[in-house]
């Protein structure tokens, strides 16, 4: 009798970890960036960032359209897309990485490092980003921020506008994941 119960429990455990339930997704993640200088502050938001997490592998992938960043002023949007990021040539920014020591079953908040490759403007850099991961009733929220240096991604700012753009841009992200429907 005990063996049967163990067998049933085992079956529940195995089927509970099938491949489809290992993947979580958001198609409406939020990424914002800020450039603070004494001349002006620039802020932009993208509310349609795609991200998928594979819990079994501890892997995370992020992809966003650069022309979907919304600015307060249309001229900033134009400069960003046409001169700096060149979104016609490099329409997407991506990140692919691993969450180090990720514990998918832990509830509440955990703080982890994510290590991976960040690609902006066609240039890939290895980065380490700190994130908080909150697990509430099977939905996961990742929140964090990091800094990126404009020069690292070969983004050319004309000398006349150099005082307006910070050398280091601060980037914030917020992703709320749901179980992945294929």
């Amino acid at each position: 009798m005990n063996k049967i119960i163990i067998l049933i429990l085992l079956l529940i455990t195995i089927t509970g970890f099938d491949t489809t339930s290992d993947q979580f997704m958001t198609r409406q993640g939020q990424v914002s960036f800020f450039s603070y200088t004494s001349v002006e502050n620039i802020e932009a938001k993208n509310n349609q960032v795609l991200s998928i997490i594979d819990f079994a592998k501890g892997e995370i992938a992020v992809s966003m359209l650069m022309n979907a960043f919304v600015f307060k002023k249309s001229l900033m949007h134009e400069h960003f897309n046409e001169s700096y990021i060149e979104s016609d040539l490099y329409p997407k920014a991506t990140f692919e990485g691993k969450i180090i020591d990720f514990e998918p079953l832990a509830t509440g908040v955990q703080t982890k490092m994510v290590k991976g490759n960040l690609t902006i403007h066609g240039i890939t850099k290895e980065v380490e980003i700190k994130t908080t991961i909150e697990n509430t009733n099977g939905t996961y929220r990742l929140i964090g921020d990091f800094e990126a240096t404009v020069k690292d991604f070969d983004i050319k700012i004309p000398p006349v506008l150099a005082p307006n753009i910070a050398k280091t841009i601060s980037i914030q992200f917020r992703f709320e994941y749901q179980p992945y429907e294929k």
Partner: protein, 130 residues
């Protein structure tokens, strides 16, 4: 002439109201997603940064990130056209129901897992209200 109008209406003032801008392309939501999946580069050259009018069926309405978002079914039930609605559309967006057929227009930004449109306005509902 239409080109000039769109140029001044969208490119010079692209964060503003597109209600009065004529769509450059009209397409069904399923066909839009299919064309991106078939050949993203080609679809980008046709739809990207253009005002597109879409016919589709409401798959989901949500308010994540304090935005009003309407998802239309793509070519399968797992794909979609993700429409970020203009803020003045909130009352009309709230009235939408899953499965409802709608017509809207917005600026196509490209494709990730879904086709993405920003600054969207409903067309049918506008006509009813005005």
């Amino acid at each position: 002439m239409v080109g000039l109008y769109i140029y001044f209406g969208v490119y010079n003032n692209r964060v503003d109201d597109i209600k009065n801008v004529s769509p450059e392309v009209k397409i069904d939501s399923g066909q839009l997603v299919s064309s991106f999946i078939l050949n993203e580069e080609n679809a980008n050259s046709v739809y990207r940064n253009k005002v597109v009018e879409i016919d589709g069926t409401v798959k989901e309405i949500n308010f994540y990130n304090n935005r009003n978002t309407v998802l239309l079914y793509g070519h399968t039930k797992y794909t979609s056209v993700l429409c970020d609605m203009q803020s003045d559309q909130i009352e009309n967006v709230k009235k939408l129901t899953k499965g409802q057929k709608v017509k809207l227009k917005g600026i196509c930004k490209g494709f990730l897992k879904d086709a993405i449109l920003l600054n969207c306005v409903l067309i049918n509902n506008d006509q009813i209200n005005e």
